[in-house]
Symmetry: C2
Subunit: 267 residues, 2 copies
Amino acid sequence: MTEERGSSGGTGLPASIEAAWGLRARPVKGPKPGLSLARIVDAAVAVAASEGLGGVSMGRVAKDLGASTMSLYRYVSAKDELYVLMQEAAMGPPPPLPAPERGSGWREALARWACAQRRVFHRNLWMLRIPVSGPPVSPNSVAWWEQGLQALDDTGLDAGEKVSVILLVNGFVRNEALLMGDLAAAVAARGVPAQEVAAGHTRTLDRLVDPVRHPSLSRLLESGALGAPREPDDEFGFGLERVLDGIEALVQSRSRSHSPLRSRSRA
Amino acid sequence: MTEERGSSGGTGLPASIEAAWGLRARPVKGPKPGLSLARIVDAAVAVAASEGLGGVSMGRVAKDLGASTMSLYRYVSAKDELYVLMQEAAMGPPPPLPAPERGSGWREALARWACAQRRVFHRNLWMLRIPVSGPPVSPNSVAWWEQGLQALDDTGLDAGEKVSVILLVNGFVRNEALLMGDLAAAVAARGVPAQEVAAGHTRTLDRLVDPVRHPSLSRLLESGALGAPREPDDEFGFGLERVLDGIEALVQSRSRSHSPLRSRSRA
DNA sequence: CCCCTGCTGTGTGCGTCGTACGCAGAGCTG
DNA sequence: CAGCTCTGCGTACGACGCACACAGCAGGGG
């Protein structure tokens, strides 16, 4: 509707995000800023890392910077904008892809991509609490997407399928990290750390599960598989292998028939 | 540490959740309660459905019930407890499984399970905003788990693998719904509804993506696959088919070798 | 029968949050 | 030097979750 101010890049993005892309030169008129976007974002990330996303309040961040609460709003127009910038900073640039072998190198590349993403998420679990508000528009997020797409370059999938595959793998990684983060937070919230919570849960389920109404769950409880859940890394690895197997089936079906047949469109 | 009050079921669960299981009889001494857990939860769910989880505040729910804010705390000891009960109510009982055909009926059953879950999530997108604090302990959640496990009864997978598969499929469904919900919320937050937002995003990306640094993404943008993304249902169906294909590969590898070989434990 | 006890609803108050608004002052441009 | 713009900041407002204390109802023991 209204035109952005002079230095706008015309992207329709918030000013601070355009700044992250390197567009939008600093104004030269007024006094020099005592803070900077980078310092604010770093401080916010530090707070989030030590106290979770819930600990990030404008006042808290400002205090860590020795500034007043409202001064932050000179750099960021709303808290959600700060969130996006935090995400961008914590995500960082994606690691370089391995040597692009032609053939089935895509699986290795995609697995590495997923693992790298998982490492980032696990280092910064608070990221997953931020609602996604659309496709990625910050530089690092776009770079990650680019990496994922490059991994699929030689698969023979069409553009839409590639997007769907990226979405699928990214979603799997996000969900795993989110789940583990939630669980860790719930454990940390109680005083008693670690395995005792899991033991308590199995005891609770033992008391609640009715062998008649819940036969399979009963058998599961008896098997003890819930008491000794697999390591988080193994759980992730298991899921990733399944997902990649599923993708591989698609890739092979595409490469077998050079003229791409429409697969069944009904679920 | 301290013993629960008289009517406790000894599960270690909050009182309101024990009430959901039918344990814990009402006390008989005082005046009759003017509210009920069910009425409170229903009101909260109604608020969440119309204004999102963020709109659910104790004051808001109480106002809808014509009661005061603090009266709710007679029924629920904290807001998180209300969240759990809302989840329980919105989830509802799982639909019955189809006729259990021996053989590869598991795939159909698991797909139906996933679709049913997706329908619930899409009807109540606010559910996904509630952090999971551990394994499910409310009656309906447990019933859903039971259904999922029953679908895998004849797959020959061991207990741990079944849990992992359930986690994988559930995670996929959750993530898809979460993503679609976030997107819908972001679109609704802007005034302009629907496709214009997507068009704006592609325009933004067109301006930001550098063909040299982002070759694959550039090609994707040129292909127009982002401008006309597939229907949400198709996107879900695509991902689900991949996931099920991956699980099917595992099931077949298990059924081929009757003596269960350990698959590679390293990712 | 009455009072006592355990339950009910609720008003007040505290601390925290995001942020709208407006002011005092800094520093470049004329 | 004047004036404009941009800076940081103090104040204020309306939410929020919930601790706490109080007033009144109902059944049970004397």
